[in-house]
């Protein structure tokens, strides 16, 4: 009498599982020389996974739920699944050259990465506590290990240790909160919780439960004061893994947060609204100001991704604080659009770091001086991504900033206006350190004693750069592309 599973809705997950298995067997079977096939296999697998997602998105016959409501495949879920697959695709492209050059175990690397992608894909449509928790653990488990992939390097060990310990601690706090949620509402699926949440919104236990859950996810998106792990882990971990962490695992954290706040306890916005407001303000400011002083480019990108998380939190917090419904829907749409654009911008930036590091042979920004003179291609990509992060038209970043600002201003209450003000100041500060990198690359003379690195550049890294660059420019000139993400998703804000 087993449960009725809607296999079409599960198609992406099934395809991913198939790829996982294929990669694993290939890794075992193939001799060391042909190990690169695992990469090809995983890329193929991801493209196959993308097909059902696109099909489901285009065939608009509404949301498909199964397992009595705990697993929902609606536009919101599909968009994020698509985003995770795309991000995974690009990260793998970036890591092919990186892994080969380090003589590491390729098979397992791709296996773990695909497992993490599977976790985030499941999270996107999870609508109950257990599935969400398992999805979350599936995302972060492999990442703990991937962070420490460069076994010989002490920094990589330290990165994985820090990430692991804090990850497990935040998971414990999350679980404690979930246990209380279950205790108070008696159910595990979000529909039930949201009904109960309305009457409970002032009981201390419920407040504790909600906030502990929020803390769990806040750790994932590295919001201040739970961000301390991010800079060290980003610097220590191998760069493609850092890219993946700063984009996909952060997006997974946001997905969790969005589902929990919008679907599980929309009426408890008086709790998580102000909390998010504080987190947004703190994250933006601390992220931006500390980024000003960074000398290592990866550490700068780490603090920059914290600051961007802060910017993403702004519309999120506005939705929590403001009252009128369509402002909330717009704000919700804004967050999703910002995440989509941020994904491509940041992946591109990290791809540039990988490509550039090959020539500058170090992470210090002053070592990157004069890159434009001997490597104009990479410098041009760097210019596009860093200025897009800064939010300069006609690159996609400006539309993200615009949508974020309009959501903040549209909020209507004094608090949202104050947040918009803080965001404006932060935008200017942010411009300064992005421009510093661009200035270094383009204007400063080449530091003496500089030896040009290996000239050849891996094909797949260039493909990754081109894909992200195309999206960033296309979305910049014709923002309807990223606007599509926001609009289709706004429906979920309307409730369950």
């Amino acid at each position: 009498m087993g449960p009725t599973l809607d296999y079409l809705a599960l198609a992406p997950e099934l395809a991913l599982v198939a790829t996982l298995m294929a990669v694993l067997t290939a890794d075992i079977v193939l001799p060391h020389a042909q190990k690169y096939w695992t990469a090809v296999l995983s890329v193929l697998g991801l493209t196959v996974t993308a097909l059902p997602i696109l099909f489901l998105l285009l065939s608009d016959e509404g949301t498909r739920t199964m397992l009595d409501g705990s697993y929902v495949v609606d536009d919101f879920a599909l968009i994020f699944k698509g985003l995770f697959v795309a991000a995974g695709y690009i990260v793998i492209l970036m890591s092919v050259s990186y892994i080969e050059s380090d003589r590491y175990y390729q098979g397992e690397y791709y296996f773990l990465l695909l497992a993490s992608i599977l976790g985030s894909v499941v999270m996107a449509s999870a609508r109950d506590l257990i599935l969400l928790f398992v999805g979350l653990e599936l995302v972060s488990g492999p990442l703990f290990l991937l962070a420490g992939w460069r076994k010989g390097d002490v920094k990589s060990n330290e990165a994985s240790l820090k990430f692991y310990l804090l990850g497990v601690l935040s998971a414990a706090i999350l679980l404690y909160g979930m246990s209380f949620l279950y205790g108070l509402t008696g159910t595990v699926d979000f529909a039930g919780i949201s009904e109960a949440s309305e009457r409970l919104s002032h009981t201390p236990a419920f407040i504790m439960a909600v906030l502990f859950v929020m803390v769990g996810f806040a750790f994932k998106i590295s919001a201040v004061p739970f961000h301390f792990w991010a800079p060290d882990t980003y610097e220590g971990a191998p760069t493609p893994v850092t890219a993946y962490m700063s984009v996909s695992s952060k997006a997974a954290g946001f997905v969790g947060m969005l589902i929990v706040t919008y679907v599980a306890f929309p009426d408890a916005s008086n709790i998580w609204g102000p909390a998010l407001w504080i987190m947004a303000a703190l994250t933006m400011t601390v992220g931006n100001l500390t980024a000003l002083r960074q000398t290592n480019i990866v550490r700068l990108l780490a603090y920059s991704s914290i600051a961007q998380a802060g910017f993403m939190l702004v519309p999120f917090a506005v939705a929590g604080v403001s009252s009128d419904p369509d402002a909330i829907a717009a704000a919700f749409g804004a967050t999703v659009t910002y995440i989509a654009i941020y994904t491509f911008m940041n992946l591109g930036a990290f791809a540039v770091v990988i490509a550039g590091a090959r020539y500058t042979r170090s992470g210090d920004i002053d070592k990157w001086a004069g890159l434009a003179s001997y490597q104009p291609g990479v410098a041009l990509f760097g210019l596009i991504f860093f200025l897009s992060l800064a939010g300069i038209p006609p690159l996609a970043g400006w539309y993200a900033k615009l949508v974020m600002f309009s959501a903040a201003i549209g909020g209507g209450s004094v608090w949202t206006a104050v947040l918009a003000g803080i965001a404006a100041i932060n935008a200017v500060i942010a411009f300064y350190y992005y421009a510093r990198v661009v200035k270094a690359m383009w204007f400063d003379p080449v530091p003496e004693g500089h030896v040009a690195g290996k000239p050849e550049q891996s094909r797949s890294l260039q493909l990754a750069l081109v894909i992200t660059m195309l999206f960033v420019i296309a979305a910049g000139i014709y923002p309807a592309i990223s606007a599509y993400f926001g609009d289709t998703v706004a429906s979920i804000a309307g409730g369950g």
């Binding site: 300069i392 949508v403 309009s406 201003i409 935008a427 300064y432 421009a435 309807a480």
Partner: protein, 527 residues
Amino acid sequence: MELLDNGTVLSLITFLPLVGALVVGLIPRAQEEAYKWAALITALVVGVLSIVVAFVFDYGDSAKFQFGTDLSWIESIGSNFHIGVDGISLPMLVLSAVITILAIIYSWDHWEEPRNPKAFLILMLLLETGMNGTFVALDLILFFIFFELVLLPMYFMIGIWGDKSPRTIAMFNLTTETRLYASIKFFLFTLFGSAFMLLSFLGLYFNSGDAGARTFDIPKLIEMAPHLSALPIAGWLFAGMFLGFAVKVPMWPFHTWLPDAHTAAPTVGSVLLAAILLKLGSYGFIRIALPILPEQAMQWAPTIAILAVIGIIYGSLACLAQTDMKRLIAFSSVGHMGFVMLGISTMTEAGINAAIIGMVAHGVITGMLFFVAGSMHHRYHTRDMARLGGNATLMPKMGFILGFIAMASLGLPGLAGFWGEFMALLGAFRPAAGLPVGLFQTAMVIGAVGTVLTAGYLLWMLQKVNLGEPKEEWAGHEFHDVDKFEMAAWVPLLLATVAIGVYPRLVLGSTNGAVKELVSTILENLA
């Protein structure tokens, strides 16, 4: 013809330079001739198109936005690709197209220090897209994008090809290269201004909601003007826009970026900066700030007038203290733009017409001044007036042109500069009803005194640079006088100066109709 009506020609004028930039980008760096011609042909085609538009433009009804189109662009926030040109923006569009052609011709065979003509041409074409786009945009977001797009190419032009001499920053005992300090200062200043401008645009967008669908569309916003200017935060909205545009004009307290940007910029860079970029601010006032928030404009008009007049006096006095020739011309721009803003602040037909013809004239004349200053710098390798002298004996043709254009710049009647200043004073004598007449009349008198100071520093500069005996330093030196590229670039500008001076109708014919319409809508919305 249908080619013109559905906006294709205007889109071509705006985006052809972008295509040109791409084409230049693709041509390999070796074939210099190939991409130089490609850039020139693109600029020429755009120039011809803009002149065709000027010919076919219906001057009888110059208030209507002609050749426009209104395609949907980002429906979610209700901003669409709405472009069009009317009597006010037409002269600026033609000026922008023509100046770019001349800039390319001028720099045909002498490029600034890190010799990279390909990158320079690409930046110039990008700049042209930004400029043309701003003048045709009729949607706030479109306007904002082109307004910002202009920043990047100029930032790189100043940053890469700028003046490399070290410069100590006062009070901070820090020495950096002039070009780096100037480019970052230019960028941050304008970015700071335009951030607040964007906030105002968003404020307008949100508050336009209750009188019909929310929109970024300028003509629709103008229709909603009575409602918009009655809003409690309308004052703040105008303040935001004022800040954004004032930084760009530049008006007095926000002007400190201009001298640095001009002195550091390469010749063609400062020409384009002076000729067109400064006008984006004042054009913004006329196109957006005044018609959409007329009541606030009236409240702010006295302050703008005072700042404009201070700008005139301040600019002229600062010029008298300069030793660097290009920095003197930069401060003169502050003075001339002071007259343009005085014209706008009077909110009369005379004043706004004065502003537009003043903008066109200043573009032509100061463009020429910077060209000449650039060429002299190219030959003498110095801009320090103390070392220059006797230029008219060393290079008679260059001396004559410098003398002629200095005369035009000081507003000699019969040349283009005069009409802008004269009509601004005319407007100031009797400002729009409701404005303090006494204040504006004192502003008029101070403005008139300003013309004397302008004459002062220009003739002083002429005497120091052009007349007198050449210093012995240049004794053995042989100077080649104006070469054929420079002459080809300069003759059109000189002819334009005389033509507009003798026959101002060339500009007024197109602007007067639109300005009459603009002022009548403003007064209507005020009542």
